[in-house]
Amino acid sequence: MESTRAITEMILQEAQKTAEHIIQEAQKTAEETLEKQRQLGVHRATTTTRLLLKKAESEAELNKLNSIANAKIKANWVILSKKETWIDNALNEAKNELTILTQSKEYISILEKLIKEAGVILGGKELEVLLNKQDSKLPLKLDELAKAISEKTGFKTKLRLSAEKPNVIGGAIVRTANGKVIMDNTFDDIFKRREKDLRSEIAKILF
């Protein structure tokens, strides 16, 4: 009787053990399956996230470089425009001083020199001199100037003051009697002709 009980208990114990083992194995398999899926998810995400992160880093870096480049351009532009303003101021001041100069005694000789230069360039002969309203009233020695031009060019020269009064700071426009060839030696035109050189020279001195 005792041995029968021992056998039956053993049968049940074995069955219990087997049952536990079956369930444990199933749980292990289930966990492994889920872990495998988890790993797969992480793996797939790793590839995607690596690309996303790289893209975001590139974009952020590009934005940063763009901002810096724009700021550099802006800063350079501000500095350049400041320089341009100073150059403009210097040119304007020079024009003001020239205007003041036109009121001085020394101006007559400067104006005569400009007329003579223009007359020589035109090659003398019959020439017409155009001056602004104020300069037209100056006691210019046109005959002496004509003589000087004749000597330089080898052609008998006559200078005649035109009735036309250009609106300029100072200086003179000289043209042939037929009006076909003109030499503009007004301060205004000299400024215009030499503006590039003047600006460059001012920049060299100012900065």
């Binding site: 049968i11 049940l12 398999t29 975001a56």
Partner: protein, 106 residues
Amino acid sequence: MLEAFKAIKEKHLEAKRIIDEATAEAEKIKQEAAQRESSVYEEAYGAALRQTEQKIVEVKRKTAEEAEHELEKLLSQAEERAKEIEAKAEKNFQKAVTAVLNMILH
């Protein structure tokens, strides 16, 4: 003797029942796991993506901070340069005007 065999047979049947139940339970566990496969995969994938999104925000914030720092440096340098230009220009202004007059008149 017959009693003993009977008892052993009964316990065998009981043992079989226990194992059958365990097998059924095991099958259920496996099936449940199979059903959860896709959601576990998506959860892991989604969690990794969310983590990366945070990293991306951090990368953008850090780069923007660096840019801001660079911009401040640039601005400060430009201001410094502008001051130098002002000072030099102010000092040499009359000299430049005289040079212009000389170029025009001579």
